[in-house]
């Protein structure tokens, strides 16, 4: 009941398809924003939404230690629960905890084969099999194309949904479709691209590329105080 409430009230589902997932199975998506605008907050909400649907989420962070990532999840979850005034949130939190796994790597030490090897450790022993992966802090530089293609294949092979955070820079002008230059040679790999755009005191969530190009997506905002997504009405 509680879970259902949180799932139904999540504004992110407005961006979703019929099954209310934003990404199709095997698809990959990106959340673009400049530093400090709220990429991780949005990604964590995508993760929590999936966790509440009782699906397993692997959060891969190339920047932060496990404790910090865990704290992100806890904070956003508590903010969500507080916003909807939900009782017994601790029990709900305890119930989703086993469905989440955090892996952190040093940026230099990260590679797709290594990730696959770590995942094998988990899946072969039936400890954890992810259905969605969040990759935070992946460096979108000259060397990014190959690992990204590998991850796309990996996602296809296992029917996963993978989200990436992409840090954009103020001094780099985006292309006509709003795609930043660092994604220009690989943007065809992404099914969905969301952008966080600060305007005044508000942060708008813009759909640069959606699963359904025809769809008229509702306007969503990220509240800088709670870091939660809400409808702009």
């Amino acid at each position: 009941m509680l879970k259902k409430d949180l799932i139904l009230r999540n504004p992110l589902r407005l961006l979703g398809q019929e099954d209310q997932y934003i990404l199709p199975e095997g698809g990959i998506g990106a959340v673009l924003a400049r530093a400090g605008v709220g990429k991780t907050a949005l990604m964590v909400q995508l993760a929590l939404d999936t966790l509440l649907r009782e699906k397993n989420v692997l959060h891969v962070s190339l920047d932060d230690p496990v404790d910090k990532v865990s704290l992100w999840h806890k904070e956003v979850f508590h903010n969500m629960a507080e916003q909807y005034n939900l009782p017994q949130i601790n029990q709900l939190w305890d119930s989703i905890l086993p469905k989440r796994f955090i892996m952190t790597f040093k940026v230099d030490g990260f590679s797709v084969p290594k990730l696959e090897e770590r995942l094998r450790d988990l899946t072969e022993q039936n400890i954890f099999t992810p259905q969605m992966i969040i990759v935070d802090g992946f460096p979108f530089d000259d060397t990014a194309l190959e690992p990204l293609q590998q991850l796309r294949e990996f996602s296809n092979r296992h029917g996963l949904r993978i989200w990436f955070s992409v840090r954009t820079h103020r001094h780099e002008a985006p292309g006509p479709d709003g795609i930043p230059p660092q994604l220009s040679n690989m943007d065809n790999l992404f099914n969905v691209i969301l952008q966080l755009q600060p305007e005044g005191k508000k942060v708008h969530v813009k759909v640069l590329r959606g699963v359904d190009a025809e769809k008229d997506y509702p306007e969503l905002m990220l509240d800088p105080a709670t870091m939660l997504i809400s409808r702009n009405d």
Partner: protein, 694 residues
């Protein structure tokens, strides 16, 4: 001779297990002429390090009780508390930090910031203890002090700045470059006692310049003078040190030193830093609570003329009776003074005072504010405050966690029986996380504490120090009961069996409450339960909490609201309402879907990456939730939450799964509901246990 207070340092040395803090302390004592030979922790000479005075400590190569010692360095008196690194003994660490003014955080140049470093760091934060860091073991292969500095920033959030850079690393470690004086420092002589300063080698000069710039940048935030001097390019070592000291005292900056205690490199500059950068007792503001003024906080001053305030932070059983380590915060305590224990109100006369050096001592006449010393033959508990007859001040109480594991013990013979009770009496006074009681039903003596090793060490100490040979039962986990839904009750207690009758009706509801608390809410209106019986109702309910109706575990997290009832002019009494409350509790509890909660431990395993799968498997088999894994190139850190009941004997399992290359730490995290199948097993066991008793 006592020094001027500005020349006194009370410091602790805290670190993860095996980071080499006892070795470091040993070297400090050697260079300050307190000892004349060096004994290694697990040395071949069999003497063991000076600070590890307990036989058991020497045997296991770990430090259990924190021994206090003092030494002198460049006209400063340095009191050192050697703190244990194992999580099971954190109460010792916490107590030490409470009485210290500054600390050295020792880190391993290979292992970096490890799980216990994080725990220790949190404790330092709690007690606002300024610290400097020492990156030890720079001679080991894989040493990388700058990676550790980065970890200090990333993992602990310290504004860590390098004060030195190594000259050579691993087997080629020769010395360090001092970035304040811009000199190369080498350590000659058989035990590194001769410091030789030279020009910085050309190959290192550029890197040293750039590191010094970073150091000046960081330090100039705390001194305008330094900022100006930096702009004019005239930074003097004194100016830089002064700015660093300000930053360190405010905990805004963590100066990082490096070397290898075992190879006798880098210890003397660290001692210089203790005197130059860490606070003296007068730099630290200490508070006490005034018991005569509703516990209003009082700032203590180190003025020797004021009423004395001293905290007993550690007890030991010595050959002359109880030895009480104290830190004096205000005034002074002298031989033949009469002091008052603020907790018990008992007056005691100070007989003998001493200054401690591990297990040896030196008699002294008085201890002044800011100093650490020991009292003889005074009966008190750890954490007690001593004052004089004029004031009733108490030092703020220390945070004491609840024990999570218990064990039944029984003496093997009559002699052991006596010795065991002596030992238990002593240990419970020394360590507030170690408790003991007698189970009324089984008659067993139960000891409880913070982990398996914690209890093992006390059993071992009973054997060695008190000659008490005891048998131990299976460790028992401290389960709890709680309710999961709201339930109403309406119970009438009526008895008429000749003589005065008993009558009381109590109605209301019980519901789950957040946290461990029991909450009692009185919403009775119109006097349906007369006011004088409300307290009896509360007492009746409270009486039911110690042993829950489901499985006789303590009941926690429950709110009881009474809103109606009835009384009888003649037959109602306190006893009748207590009985009615007990009946009401049982009635409501049966409907409130009670569940069993078990302690869940945060278990952090550090292992070489090749064993990651095996380690995760071992945690998973123990009903553990693996929160995540952190890849640190060759090592990985796995964080998990595992029920305590599944952790018995885990160290052996981990050792065999990882060829002894992994280590783990464990601390209490939270209470969580036991899965249904396990709860049924527990119920079965409890019923069998009852049958056996019957």
């Amino acid at each position: 001779m006592e020094k001027d207070l500005s020349q006194v340092r009370n410091i602790g040395i805290s670190a993860h297990i095996d980071s080499g803090k006892t070795t470091l302390t040993e070297r400090i004592l050697y260079y300050t002429d307190r000892i004349h030979t060096i004994h290694d922790v697990k040395g071949k000479d069999g003497v063991g390090a000076t600070m590890d005075s307990m036989e058991l400590e020497r045997e296991r190569g770990i430090t259990i009780a924190s021994a206090a010692t003092y030494c002198e360095w460049r006209d400063h008196q340095v009191n050192i508390i050697d703190t244990p690194g194992h999580v099971d003994f954190t109460i010792e660490v916490e107590r030490s930090l409470r009485v210290l003014d500054g600390a050295i955080l020792v880190l391993c140049s290979v292992g970096g910031v490890q799980s216990q470093s994080i725990t220790v760091d949190m404790q330092m934060k709690r007690y606002k203890v300024p610290c400097i860091a020492f990156i030890n073991k720079c001679d080991r292969s894989g040493a990388n002090p700058f990676r550790v500095i980065q970890q200090l920033k990333d993992k602990l959030g310290h504004n860590a700045v390098a004060m030195q850079m190594p000259i050579g690393l691993e087997a080629d470690l020769e010395g360090v470059v001092d970035l304040v004086t811009m000199q190369a420092v080498y350590f000659d002589g058989e035990n590194g006692e001769v410091m030789r300063t030279e020009e910085i080698p050309d190959a290192l000069r550029d890197e040293a310049e750039s590191l010094r710039e970073k150091l000046i940048d960081a330090a100039s935030m705390y001194s305008d003078d330094l900022m100006e001097a930096a702009l004019e390019g005239e930074v003097t070592p004194e100016l830089l040190t002064e700015a660093l000291r300000i930053g360190t005292l405010e905990r805004n900056i963590t100066p990082v030193f490096m070397g290898s205690a075992y190879k006798n490199k880098g210890v003397q500059p660290l001692l210089d830093a203790v005197t130059n950068l860490l606070p003296c007792p007068a730099d630290v503001e200490n508070q006490a609570l005034d018991m005569n003024a509703d516990e209003a906080p009082v700032i203590l001053s180190s003025d020797a003329g004021k009423s004395p305030v001293a905290l007993a932070f550690k007890l030991e059983d010595g050959q002359y009776g109880q030895l009480t380590y104290i830190r004096v915060y205000q005034g002074s305590i002298s031989k033949a003074d009469t002091i008052v224990n603020a907790r018990t109100g008992k007056k005691v006369k100070v007989g003998r005072l001493a200054r401690m050096h591990a297990d040896q001592m030196e008699d002294i006449d008085s201890i002044s504010a800011g100093y650490i010393g020991a009292l003889f033959g005074i009966d008190c508990a750890s954490g007690d405050t001593f004052t004089d007859r004029n004031s009733r001040l108490s030092m703020t109480s220390m945070y004491v966690p609840e024990p999570v594991i218990s064990l039944a013990i029984a003496p093997r013979d009559n002699k052991s029986q006596n010795n065991m009770s002596k030992a238990l009496n002593r240990f419970t006074k020394e360590d507030p996380t170690f408790r003991t009681y007698v189970n009324q039903e089984t008659g067993d003596t139960i000891i409880s504490g913070m982990g398996e090793l914690h209890l093992e060490v006390y059993i071992e100490r009973m054997r060695r120090e008190y000659g008490a040979d005891v048998e131990t039962g299976m460790p028992r986990v401290a389960y709890r009961e709680t309710i999961t839904q709201k339930a109403e009750f309406n119970y009438t207690h009526k008895k008429q069996t000749g003589g005065a009758g008993q009558f009381g009706r109590v109605a209301g509801y019980m519901e789950p409450a957040e946290g461990d608390e029991f909450e009692f809410v009185n919403k009775v209106t119109g006097g349906s339960i007369p006011t004088q019986f409300i307290a009896a109702c509360e007492k009746g309910f409270k009486g039911c909490l110690a042993k829950g109706p489901k499985m006789e575990f303590p009941v926690t997290g429950i709110r009881i609201v009474i809103d109606d009832g009835a009384s009888h002019a003649v037959d109602s009494s306190e006893m009748a309402f207590q009985a009615a409350a007990r009946g009401a509790f049982l009635e409501g509890y049966a409907r409130a879907k009670a569940v069993i909660h078990e302690p869940i431990m945060k278990v952090v395993v550090e292992s070489p990456t090749e064993f990651q799968g095996a380690v995760m498997g071992s945690l998973n088999q123990r009903r553990g939730i693996i929160l995540g894994s952190q890849d640190e190139v060759t090592m990985c850190v796995i964080e998990s939450q595992v029920p305590l009941s599944e952790m018995f004997g885990y160290s052996t399992v981990l050792r065999s799964a990882t060829q002894g290359k992994a280590q783990f730490t464990m601390e209490f995290n939270a209470y969580r509901q036991v899965p249904q199948s396990i709860a049924e097993d527990l119920l079965k066991k409890a019923q069998e246990g009852k049958k056996n008793v019957a």
